[in-house]
């Protein structure tokens, strides 16, 4: 399975939740599969999805699901100790780990070689870390929502992208409708 197939499968779970989605093709795929006002699409700023999601989870009580990538987490590796040490039980970090920088031409990341992001997250102090196959992602995500416990999921999948259009929505519109969804 590739990322877009995972997103298609988990779209019904994501639909009613606050979602912060990683820059580039992941946001384009989620936007094309199931656009929702409760999705915050990152149009730039590689690496900060997990940080934006953590700030959001600490500031309000609704569950927050962050869809991140292995390359983006590697860009902002300092996020994992911050997540571990500021526990928000309404926070789920779903790292779709396809071992590559998907948006830039599928160059390999170190997570696809010797580096285990699940072990890094554990070493940083994250207490509920689950590595799973792409096929199990929906079940693991649903269980994480039900557990109401801060969870880091590393979903191992194949490299590859679906061809989806660029998001042309204005960033202020994305942000405004997302904030209304947070308040609703």
């Amino acid at each position: 399975m590739i990322r877009s197939e995972i997103l298609k499968e988990i779209a019904p779970i994501l639909r009613d939740e606050l979602v912060v989605c990683n820059i580039g093709i992941p946001s384009q795929e989620l936007h094309a599969i199931d656009d929702q006002p409760s999705n915050f699409y990152m149009l730039g700023t590689m690496g900060l999805a997990s940080s934006i999601g953590l700030g959001l989870a600490l500031a309000q009580p609704k569950p927050v699901i962050v869809i991140d990538g292995d390359g983006s987490v590697l860009t902002n590796l300092g996020t994992l100790p911050t997540i571990a040490n500021n526990v928000a039980d309404n926070y789920i970090l779903l790292i779709i780990d396809n071992g590559s920088y998907g948006s830039t031409g599928d160059q390999p990341t170190y997570a696809g070689r010797k580096t285990s992001l699940a072990k890094v997250a554990e070493a940083c102090g994250c207490e509920r870390v689950i590595e799973c196959s792409a096929e199990d992602t929906g079940r693991v995500l649903q269980e994480a929502l039900e557990a109401r416990e801060m969870t880091v999921i590393v979903s191992k999948c194949e490299s590859g992208n679906a061809k989806m259009p660029v998001i042309t929505m204005d960033p202020v519109v994305i942000r405004d409708r997302f904030m209304k969804a947070v308040e609703a």
Partner: protein, 165 residues
């Protein structure tokens, strides 16, 4: 009242409830003070751009944020300021220690100090410079201004303001 307490009181009075910090010796007192206040969630970050991400999320979650950082890190935050804070029109007060100004004992600090105001001007970030302790009187209005216009706003605080090194 100490300058650290006064700054923290102003943050609380402006309903700032989420503060992220990356430490600087000059900011140590205000960071300690913020950490003690029940009204403020203090979330230290490992890098300033990470902190700006946290602030963006906190603001969308309904809490007024602020970041406390050193000017030497301004360079690592430029992309975040442009593509997150400014692109999505988010407010962010940035209380910045202005290292490398008069009285600075460490030569390397001067290297980013000479770029600090130019970078902020290039980024079109409204910038205030606290040099005398009395300048702190403007802080409440600067905070109001930040949340009125939904922009990042920089407050540079130099060694003279903090009373030396």
């Amino acid at each position: 009242m100490s300058i650290d307490s006064r700054i923290t009181d102003d943050l609380v009075a402006s309903r700032i409830e989420f503060v992220t910090t990356v430490p600087c010796k000059q900011l140590a007192g205000v960071i300690d003070e913020i950490d003690k206040r029940a009204e403020i969630a203090h979330v230290p970050s490992n890098k300033e751009d990470e902190g700006m991400g946290l602030c963006a999320g906190a603001w969308m979650g309904g809490k007024r944020p602020a970041i406390i950082m050193q000017n030497t890190a301004l360079g690592v935050t430029l992309n975040t300021l442009a593509t997150l804070t400014q692109f999505y029109r988010m407010p962010l007060p940035m209380l910045i220690s202005y290292r490398g100004e008069l009285g600075e004992p460490v030569a390397c600090q001067v290297e980013m100090a000479i770029h600090t105001k130019a970078l902020l001007a290039q980024m079109h970030i409204p910038t205030y410079h606290f040099h005398d302790q009395g300048d702190v009187a403007e802080l409440p209005k600067i905070l109001d201004y930040t949340f009125m216009c939904n922009k990042p706003v920089a407050i540079l605080t130099d060694a003279s303001f903090w009373g030396g090194y």
